[in-house]
Amino acid sequence: MTQLGRARLDMGRGVQFASGRPGFAAARMPSRPPSVWVWQRRERPAPVRALNRGRNPAAWSRIGFSAPRVAVAVFLIGATLAVAETSPLTLTNCDGRELRLPEPPARLAVAGRASFMIVHAAALFPEARDRLRAAAGGRQLRGANFDFLVRAGRVAPDLEILGAEVGPEQLASRHPDLVLLKSVSARLGDALAKVGIPTFSFDLETPEQYERELVTLGRLLGNPSRAEELVRYYRECRARVAEALAAPPAASRPRVLLVQASARGGARSFSVPPADWMQTRLVELAGGVPVWRAAGQGAGWTVVSLEQAAVWNPDVVLVVDYGEGDTEMASLLRADPVWRKLAAVSNGRVWTFPRDLVTWDQPDPRWGLGLMWIAKRLHADRFAGLDLWAETIAFYRWYGLTETEVAAQIKPRLRGDWR
């Protein structure tokens, strides 16, 4: 009932499309979240009105339409929708296991490691506000991130943020219908299964997984159409980058080193992501060669030394700072006597990954922006028309933000070499 009620409220807002924006921003993006018109098409009794407004009523009556029949049809459609709303739901976990739920979950909790990624993905759906009841969260979910999601109406102000290492007992006390986890938190999932709480695992580590799991999230949250729109957006991001790189084929793919710089290590040491993480895939999709592929075989960030960086001698260095996204680390690299000898530094091709509320390199909804940013950095000539600010505005329409709101809320938080 709540969803139907909100759908009616949304219906009055009408449908707006962006037009005339430069670069990617001119993509086929609705200015309001697409759920608005999706709901209109699905639930507004448009067929009935259309029939009544038909240009040739006699023709309609000839094929058997009458008021009682239409009423019956409307009743049947409504009943079907109502049944669909409460019908069993079968979903496939990222590890291939099937999860059968008697009805779509009304109370969701998010827990385990990197839970903020699931929360941010769920917040792309307006339905998350009513269904997300608790989430384990570190710094990337608290503070400004949480405030933003509340202001955008994507999580309820009373969403309970639990400790990062929340256990099965604390979760059980919140009575969730389903707990969403990253696959790395399988042990927590096993513990929850023992107390009868179903869990659903996401990978969300590569663009392909992200798109696939958005579809699942759409089914879980009862808005598959929204999921389709989102998937279309991300595929379009990838396709536009691929097209620009494909014709004519990029002459040379720059050798890229993406590093998470540690304040402790100064300019002397840093970490590289695993080969199967989002960061590695983004560099590949953006037309670069991730030089750290062989080193990133672990389950998490691997510390490598500057000596190894000298062996790789990359053409481009991308610095990720999960702190404030400051460019201080890149400055340190430029000033370091050893780094200065490497091709990337001597050619001035060291850049800090952009961030607003979170860094754009992660399996977070902003990865599309991250992909476009890398592509523009690696192949500036091919992406000369790409306006990242316009892309940022376009992206934040998924959260219902207008250009003015993006300028007021997001622009002051943009860090790194995003321009």
Binding site: A164, E165, A295, S305
Partner: protein
């Protein structure tokens, strides 16, 4: 000094010096595991890597091993307990707690991290010492050991709490790697920080090595031999702990060196402190440097130093125990 001790005291420093020289050419640039010497003249990157990276790192590894080896030897003898190592008085856990605090709340500042680790390491010692003074049973050694266990446990609990609060993507990996120990971030500035802490401490320990055997005796006997046991023991413990705190604040938690190396030194050079202590110092340097060379050159990613010292330390300890068992049967 018998010939065996004399030759060991000449041979071990020579081996250490040779290993330092060899370490400058061990690494992953340009190809693992060896860099031709001519590249020092021909390749600017190789030159910078050698002077700016390998040399300070090798110096830090040597200082780390020497400090932990000496600290372990001193504490094992003073406390008449072969299972004691420098970390047991709450020093290591205190340093780890201080480092974690800095990583979480001060973004792992290059200045604040070693400072915080050092302050909490010395706090661990001060707490253990104070607590031991208030305990009302047992001898001084037993009280100090018990107090050290209590303080270590308190810092461990605090460390666990901080780990549970850490951001799993940003802070936890750094924290975990730091707890496993490593010299991956060492530069000349770290060496400059270590030298004034470690070298004076090693000098104090070396100069007082003649007294350690007497200080290991009980209070009354030591006093009857003309030794102010309390004051001298405090000085030795403070020197050992200060050196340990300094190296832990730079390299993180590197285990087993302080436990294993004194045992090897005693096997090689005899149980008397004046003979085995210099051996512990040199062997500690050799062991740490050898492990660090492997940590930085075996794989493209760094292997945490603590993992290698634990691996080889545990293997070495097992060999010592097995040889000891065989000798006692014979």
């Amino acid at each position: 000094m018998n010939r065996r001790v004399l030759s060991a005291n000449l041979l071990l420093p020579a081996i250490l010096l040779g290993l330092v020289c060899v370490s400058l050419f061990i690494g992953r640039y340009p190809q693992p595991p060896w860099m031709p010497a001519r590249l020092l003249w021909e390749d600017a990157v190789a030159r910078e890597l050698t002077w700016q990276l390998r040399l300070p790192r090798s110096c830090a590894a040597v200082l780390l091993g020497m400090a932990l080896g000496a600290g372990g030897a001193v504490l094992q003898m003073l406390f008449r307990n072969p299972l004691v190592e420098p970390g047991f008085l709450g020093v290591s856990q205190g340093a780890a707690f201080g480092a974690a605090l800095s990583i979480l709340f001060f973004k792992g500042s290059i200045v604040l991290l070693p400072l915080s680790a050092g302050v909490f390491a010395l706090s661990g010692l001060a707490l253990s010492y104070t607590l031991a003074r208030y305990l009302k049973f047992g001898g001084w050694v037993m009280r100090l050991v018990l107090a050290g266990i209590v303080v270590s446990a308190l810092f461990s609990a605090g460390l666990g709490l901080l780990k549970s609060m850490a951001d799993p993507r940003r802070e936890l990996p750094e924290l975990t790697f730091w707890l496993l120990g490593g010299l991956w971030g060492v530069s000349w500035s770290d060496v400059r920080l270590l030298v004034p802490m470690v070298i004076p401490a090693l000098l104090v320990i070396s100069l007082m090595r003649w007294r350690i055997s007497i200080l290991a005796l009980d209070e009354a006997t030591a006093f009857s031999l003309g030794v102010a046991a309390g004051r001298e023991r405090a000085l030795l413990v403070a020197a050992a702990v200060a050196a340990t705190a300094a190296v832990v604040s730079v390299a993180g938690m590197v285990g087993w060196i302080g436990l294993l190396v004194p045992h090897i030194a005693r096997r090689l050079l005899g149980a008397a402190a004046r003979q085995s202590l210099p051996g512990s110092i040199w062997l500690g340097g050799i062991f740490a440097l050898g492990c660090d060379n492997m940590a930085r050159s075996l794989t493209a990613g760094e292997i945490p130093l603590g993992i290698l010292t634990s691996l080889f330390g545990a293997l070495g300890f097992a060999i010592i125990l097995l040889r000891g068992a065989r000798l006692s049967r014979e």
